[in-house]
């Protein structure tokens, strides 16, 4: 595709700090290459702001190749923008038209408070992960090689698909209920599908779901928005699997 340059208008959420009241600011940015990524476009805007001696816009990013899960952004009403199966860092400006007005907002959820501008605190995900997203391993010196454990190919594939979740939070951002079910179910499934995960299976799902609720995420009503917007195409199968794991654990738990 031939590259060209477009001029765009941006409406971007600006907020000084966690306690400040934010608002949408309007910016004009000319000569944006359609080959640039969305984050490169924001870099260009920040350069312009710095030259104008204005505060650059804070946004999260790290790998810029769709693997770390740091980038976020609610772009034109959708998490990670209008494209499918990509993160914001993989989103190209060719998805936008010349003269278009683009809305850029942070993830909106009680459990993801804004720190500054477009940066939100996603440590709630870390705390959910710490509540059960691990397996016990033998550290006596005779640790078994994971490859020595036979696992059906089908299960291994499903576990791998679940493990592709990068913890970006797009599922929460796009859900009307700000529910974290897709993320938590991916983390639960990844381990529930493998023999290594069986030891903690019951406590894992109970503790992770409890932490999810305590962190203030909403309740899943199966709208399916998360799976559509997820850059890693995590499937709703995982939510059903977590529901099964949860029912099983809740019925058989002693407390």
């Amino acid at each position: 595709m031939a590259s060209k340059n477009i001029n765009i208008n941006l409406k971007i959420w600006r907020q000084k700090n966690a306690n400040a009241k934010g608002n949408m600011e309007t910016y004009k940015l000319d000569n944006v290459s359609t080959d640039s990524s969305f984050l490169e476009m924001l870099d260009q805007l920040n350069e312009q702001l710095i030259n104008e001696r204005k505060e650059p816009i804070a946004f999260d990013h790290d790998c810029r190749e769709g693997i770390c899960g740091m980038c976020s952004l609610y772009i034109n009403g959708e998490a990670h923008g209008p494209d499918r199966a990509v993160t914001t860092c993989q989103l190209h400006m060719r998805k936008f038209k010349d003269g278009e007005t683009i809305y850029v907002e942070p993830w909106r959820a009680k459990a993801f408070p804004v720190i500054k501008d477009l940066v939100v605190d996603r440590s709630a995900f870390d705390r959910i992960q710490q509540a059960g997203g691990f397996v016990s391993v033998n550290t006596s010196g005779r640790t078994m090689d994971a490859n020595a454990i036979p696992i059906p190919k089908h299960d291994a594939d499903k576990a791998f698909e679940a493990a592709a979740c990068i913890g970006c939070g797009a599922c929460v951002a796009s859900c009307v209920n700000a529910s974290a079910m897709l993320f938590v179910s991916a983390k639960v499934s990844q381990l529930a599908l493998l023999p290594q995960g069986k030891v903690e299976a019951r406590d894992r799902v109970l503790n992770m779901v409890r932490t999810m609720d305590e962190e203030g995420f909403g309740n899943c009503t199966n709208t399916g928005a998360c799976a559509v917007e997820c850059p890693k195409e995590i499937s709703l199968d995982n939510i059903a699997r977590m529901n099964r794991e949860f029912l099983k654990a809740a019925i058989t738990s002693e407390a």
Binding site: N76, R108, A111, N219, T221, G224, V228, L236, N243
Partner: protein, 269 residues
Amino acid sequence: MALTGLFLCTFLIGHLLGNLQLFAGGEEGKRAFNEYGYFMSHNIFIKVLSYTTYISILFHAIDGFLLAFQNKKARPVNYAYSKPSANSGLASRSMALLGSIILIFICTHMANFWWKAKYSSTPMPLHRVEVSAPGSEQKQSLYLTTTGSFLPTEGLVIKHGTQIYAPEVNLKVGEGYKDLHSLTVAFFGHDKSEEGFPANEFALLAVVLYSLAMLTLSFHLWHGFSSAFQSLGVRHPKYTPFIQMVGKGFAVLVPLGFASIPIFLYFTR
């Protein structure tokens, strides 16, 4: 949520099958429907089932409001611009609103039929038939009793809703059927009074509102039916497409079946 929702779906099937009897007209249809109504209010198994239904509606509604309330709180600041239509269906995002409308409908529906049939201060007229003696033009009005015999309407009094008494001796001589058939026909029929039930001057409004309520129910089930299976963890590449298909069919056919009855009554009675 899922369990009460699915239970209510089975309730809908039973209720619809009962209501469809209203398509049968004439003395036969009236008698069959009123006998069915008597059975529904006198069978211990049905009693248990109906209390389970009341409790299910209550739990389902309370649980639904609680979820909706918590979900509102989970996003205190909304997006300036959001495009949810890009990733999800309208029905799935409006379950609480749809449910609230259904709840209002259930209340008015019960006030119009259940309350009138059960607790109204003016006793329900009983099932009557008009017969004329052979070779005579003279019509006589008779009560049909639950034993299948007939009693004259003149000279007897009704106590406790359906008990037929001989006034002088204060002796129970039989039990009649509440005329639920005529109640319904008078309610939805086009300017039609029935057997002691006055014509409903708002019949058209009643038919329209009833149909809109069924449309609401349709949207609720369009998402709700298959959603309940997902909530219970029932998801499988072999069966889920089937469940979703049945769900869509259920969501269209069941409310359509319900709505067809008042529409039929309005235009034919």
